[in-house]
């Protein structure tokens, strides 16, 4: 098995896929860093101070003004109210919700990238792993060796897991290294409030506690990794089922984007919570953002994703072992 995994890693590295992904991530981070920098600068100009409390106070006032307009969907109103309450909590306890620094940028980036961007990067590897062998024709050589088919697929799957681990780490390291040039390499120990629970538009602060940013960052990374593994496994399944890499990628892309759209409108369609793409914003549970559908919890989301993961894995293996190769 170790030999097979080394084969797959050799092919992956020779194709320079990880390098390409690294470049994409770096470009995006530079863009985001610049945007963030511009925003901070503009805010400072507008408020006449770089005191974060003033900025947060102003955000609260802005949201409250939006809330006072009568024509607003109830669910949006609830979400805004939740945000106000959390911001107010931060303000009341004199804790900066976004302590400037590369560590904060990294956390924000990873949280925002968790449901679309990182899954997309993972797809670049996952969609290609099996279908590229089919389209190149090398599958015929691979499957006429004295190695059982499930072992070959398993080696590919493990390679996928390994590359996901690298991609997640790479995103984190690049975000920290590149944004640090502008924001400074600090913020690891900034206090962060976690443990907000949101129910029916109310923020329950009874469970809150203070943790250091690096702790939250690591937890975020764990969750993002899990999301990436689930999405990667689904793309992997499509790669087994469909010979053509672009077709598989297209299907996954459609699913991910529909998930992003659904998140904004499914609150009244309760059974939508069984879709994998609605459950991708796991990091929101930690930061206390209201879930898209009432009643969703971290555990339910993790379990729903787990079921999708397991099903995709089973289908992949059964199909791969049984299929005739033409």
């Amino acid at each position: 098995m170790s030999n097979l995994i080394q084969n797959e890693m050799m092919k992956l590295l020779a194709k320079k896929r990880l390098l390409i992904i690294g470049v994409i991530v770096a470009v995006l981070i530079i863009l985001f860093t610049y945007a963030q920098y511009k925003q901070a600068e503009e805010q400072r100009e507008k408020l006449g101070t770089d005191d974060w409390r003033t900025a947060v106070q102003q955000q609260i006032i802005d949201i409250q003004n939006r809330l006072s307009s009568s024509r607003m969907l109830d669910e949006w109103r609830e979400q805004l109210q939740v945000t106000v309450k959390q911001q107010q909590y931060y303000l009341d306890h004199n804790i900066n919700p976004s302590e400037p620094g590369a560590a904060t940028f990294t956390r924000m980036f990873i949280e925002n990238a968790s449901s679309l961007f990182i899954p997309l990067l993972v797809m670049i590897v996952a969609s290609d792993l099996v279908s590229s062998e089919s389209s190149q024709g090398t599958i015929k050589l691979l499957l006429t060796r004295p190695v059982l088919r499930w072992k070959i697929l398993m080696s590919k799957y493990i390679t996928l897991l390994l590359s996901i681990s690298i991609i997640v780490a790479m995103t984190g390291v690049l975000a920290y290294a590149l944004s640090g040039v502008v924001f400074g390499y600090h913020g690891w120990n900034a206090p962060i409030i976690t443990g907000f629970t949101v129910e029916a538009g109310n923020v329950d602060t009874s469970g809150v506690r203070l943790i250091s940013q690096w702790q939250l960052l690591l937890m975020d990374f764990g969750l993002v990794w899990y999301i990436a593994v689930v999405v990667g496994t689904l793309a992997f399944m499509l790669s087994v089922l469909i010979r053509s890499t672009p077709a598989g990628m297209g299907i996954m892309l459609a699913a991910l984007i529909s998930g992003a759209i659904l998140n904004n409108m499914v609150s009244s369609w309760e059974s939508a919570k069984y879709f994998f793409m609605v459950n991708l914003q796991l990091t929101n549970y930690l930061s206390g953002v209201a879930p898209p559908i009432e009643g969703m919890t971290l555990l339910s989301s993790v379990l729903i994703l787990f079921v999708w993961w397991l099903a995709a894995l089973i289908v992949s293996f059964i199909v791969f072992i049984r299929k005739d190769v033409y």
Binding site: L4, L141, R322
Partner: protein, 306 residues
């Protein structure tokens, strides 16, 4: 008794969506022989070969490689097999050496020495560390054979091995395959849709069409039945008459007279023609085309099949 047989195919069938693609195929390949698998495109050659190497699962029947059932003893069966199915599709982004390393890692007990050996065997020492992208088709073909040889197979299956090669390459490939059979004692199964190639390369041949094997035999047996002599004579009517008195005669559209080919009889016919004052402009030994052969074997020529 089994030790002499490297491939044994027993009543193999394949049905896809209720359509029978392969209907009851039986044949054996013996040690040290080059076995031809001849048939037009679409006859089921590729499907059969893919079943032999385990890519497609037969609906019924059994395939044994060196006595190991491909279905039940997959690993052991595959250990004795080397194959190239269709084109030798290797990883273009890896070097030749890394391609070999890749496949060597999937085999038990194949180390760098053996890899060096096969590289020398196919004569790729100079370019083995270049990426496969830069190889010519002939070099890819040779690398493909090198990877097939890594595990010292007892049976080598090559699907259309001369496809796309230039004449020099084809000749080289032929010599190489003969060498493997004669010197290394390997069995080689070669598929082709070209009769001439099978004739030059193989000891025995199976002819397949529409999913069925219509004939298995030695190449000389098969072809002698079908070989013709073509004559261009003047005047043609007289010549035909003379030959008809001696043997069966047919006439082609472009003015040739066809008789059967018989080394002993031909000089006599020749003499008779000359005696009757017929001028012989041309006489040729003519190999049957594959189409002729199939026509002969499947329809009209019941006599050709024993």
């Amino acid at each position: 008794m089994m030790s002499n047989v490297t491939l044994e195919v027993n009543s193999v069938r394949k049905t896809i969506r209720k359509r029978e693609i392969i209907k009851d195929i039986n044949f054996t390949v013996r040690k040290g022989e080059v076995f031809g698998f001849l048939g037009p495109n679409g006859a089921g050659k590729t499907t059969t070969i893919r079943m032999l190497v385990g890519l497609i699962k037969p609906t019924a029947g059994s395939i044994r490689i060196c006595g190991y059932d491909v279905k039940k003893d997959y690993k052991k069966a595959m250990q004795h097999l080397g194959c190239i199915v269709e084109n030798p599709e290797l990883y273009p982004f890896l070097s030749g050496w890394n391609n070999l390393l890749h496949f060597a890692r999937m085999l038990p007990n194949v180390g760098e020495e053996r890899m060096m050996e096969v590289v020398k065997l196919v004569g790729l020492e100079q370019r083995i560390h270049d990426t496969v992208k830069t190889y010519s088709l002939g070099m890819r073909q040779r690398l493909g054979i090198a990877q097939a040889m890594l595990n010292r197979p007892k049976l080598l299956i090559l699907d259309e091995p001369t496809n796309g090669l230039d004449p020099a390459g084809i000749r080289e490939m032929r010599q190489f395959i003969r060498m493997l059979a004669e010197e290394e004692g390997m069995s080689v199964l070669v598929s082709s849709h070209l009769l001439s190639e099978i004739q030059l390369l193989c000891d025995r041949v199976a002819i397949i069409t529409k999913g069925e094997i219509v004939k298995v035999g030695t190449v000389s047996d098969l072809l002698s039945v079908q070989e013709r002599m073509s004559w261009r004579v003047e005047p043609i009517e007289l010549g035909k008459e003379v030959l008809r008195s001696l043997t069966e005669v047919m006439e082609t559209e472009d003015g040739y007279v066809l008789t059967s080919f018989d080394e002993e009889e031909t000089p006599k016919w020749n003499k008779a023609l000359v005696k009757h004052g017929v001028k012989i402009l041309e006489m040729n030994r003519r190999l049957p085309t594959l189409e002729d052969l199939f026509l002969e074997l499947t329809d009209g020529g019941g006599a050709g099949i024993e």
